[in-house]
């Protein structure tokens, strides 16, 4: 990796604003205010957390996987990555990461893509795109607002020849990633229910979200 790697938790967070456990297979959404610290915890390990961000006061501005990778010049998300919007603005900055590498090129699972990837017997299984559709609807959005996302704690190495596989997760139980909001953002999560590949160790589990105020200065 060209980026530095820090396994150190963000040491100077302020008061806890929210602490929530997202059950296995379930969605969640919440607002993170500018300056607040957002911590995601892979409680049991090897659990993909499909995540989208939208500008809180204008949902047409949202996370852009391609603009994020272009801005940092490399293919994976870790400490130091600026999560960039489709308007070129920084939504959040990753400030700590005990896992080391997160995917943003393989997107979210869906009932429809599952039929192509794994066979039509998987059509009627729960999927991230179902979670996203339900959760963005709570904020007045539709399927057209569901863009390719970040997969925190998902391991998708991309080879120089383009080969790409969703590999065994490298996040240990309790692994975390922390980011600071650079503007007010809406976060929408699907705690991935996929059981047909190793992104969840074939066994979806709960994850934790925590939001902290900026440190008192």
């Amino acid at each position: 990796m060209t980026k530095g790697f820090s396994a150190t938790p963000y040491a100077v967070a302020g008061d806890l604003v929210l602490k929530h456990e997202i059950p296995a297979r379930q969605p969640w959404s919440g607002t993170i205010r500018k300056g607040q610290l957002f911590r995601l915890i892979d409680t049991c390990g090897q659990q993909a957390v499909d995540t989208l961000f939208y500008r809180a006061d204008d949902h047409a501005e949202r996370y852009s996987a391609q603009d994020t990778l272009l801005a940092q010049g490399s293919a994976y998300i870790s400490t130091g990555t600026k999560l960039v919007s489709n308007a070129g603005n920084v939504l959040l900055t990753v400030v700590a990461d005990s896992c080391g590498r997160h995917d943003t090129s393989a997107g979210a699972c869906s009932c429809e893509s599952n039929t192509v990837r794994f066979g039509h017997h998987t059509k009627f299984e729960h999927a991230c795109r179902e979670n996203f559709a339900i959760e963005v609807a709570r904020h007045g959005m539709t399927k057209r607002d569901i863009v390719p996302n970040i997969n925190f704690f998902m391991n998708v190495p991309i080879a120089p020849n383009g080969d790409l596989v969703i590999d065994d997760g490298i996040s240990a139980p309790g692994a975390y990633v922390e980011m600071v909001a650079e503007m007010d953002v809406l976060c929408v999560i699907s705690n991935c229910p996929q059981i047909n590949n190793p992104c969840n160790g074939f066994n979806p589990t709960p994850v934790g979200v925590e939001i902290y105020e900026p440190p008192a200065s």
Binding site: G73, E112, N114, N161, D163, N203
Partner: protein, 279 residues
Amino acid sequence: MSGMTTSSSEAQIAENRRRYEALKAAGTGTAPKKMPPPTESGASPVDPQDIVRTETIPGGWYANYRLKAGERLRIESTEGTSAVALLAWNSTDTSERLNHADTVKIQWTAALQKGRLLFSDMGRVLFSILEDTSGAHDILVGGSSAATNVMRYGDDPSLRNTRTNMNLAAAKFGLGPRDIPPLVTFFAPVFVTDSGSFAWREDARAAGDFIELRAEMDLLVALSNCPHPLDPAPTYIAGPINVAILEGLPAAGDDFCRSATVEAARGFQNTDTYLGARP
């Protein structure tokens, strides 16, 4: 503790893993058919009788087209200095559009080339790549913006960019910024190094390179002809591109793109069902 597993779920996990490993073996390396080599320069000439329409897009500009299912879109980089970004929407339901992530994930590769497909977010095929001379395309990094142009070339407002072009192209279909997903860029030889950084293979493209795509449903298509943001050239260089829309050909029974992989076959199964059961 919800992370704990029982012996019966352990058995299910093992069975899920066994099925995945079988799919992975089928989709990587040992695919049922190998992808064909690139189209040779000068091969596959256009039959003038097939031409529906042609247009030359100058460097920096964009264009939009409506394609019927079966029609072909041929894009030629006349000088070898063009990079051509593409977006596509299902013309009868524009909420279905190119999904770059599903395209790479389904096919187990970020390397687009002759024989590969572009998928929508609905598990259906938008385009097949029938011909391709370069095999040097980007699906991970995306296009330029006003800001990246300033960083690369200095503050020159006359230099056009792909983000603005795609907003304009979408607007002419009645679509807006919410309808613009990540895109693919042809003739943009980007790859991921072992360290995870992006690199550029300039020798992978040449004057006269072309790609020919077959629309697999009725499509709205936007093209933008601007330098790729990772193009290392110190100045803004974008040659013109020749675009030709060609009539559809009768589908051959042994069509490579439809049957190259199990994923392709299932994607076309979904597409055919949606379009109303072709044989």
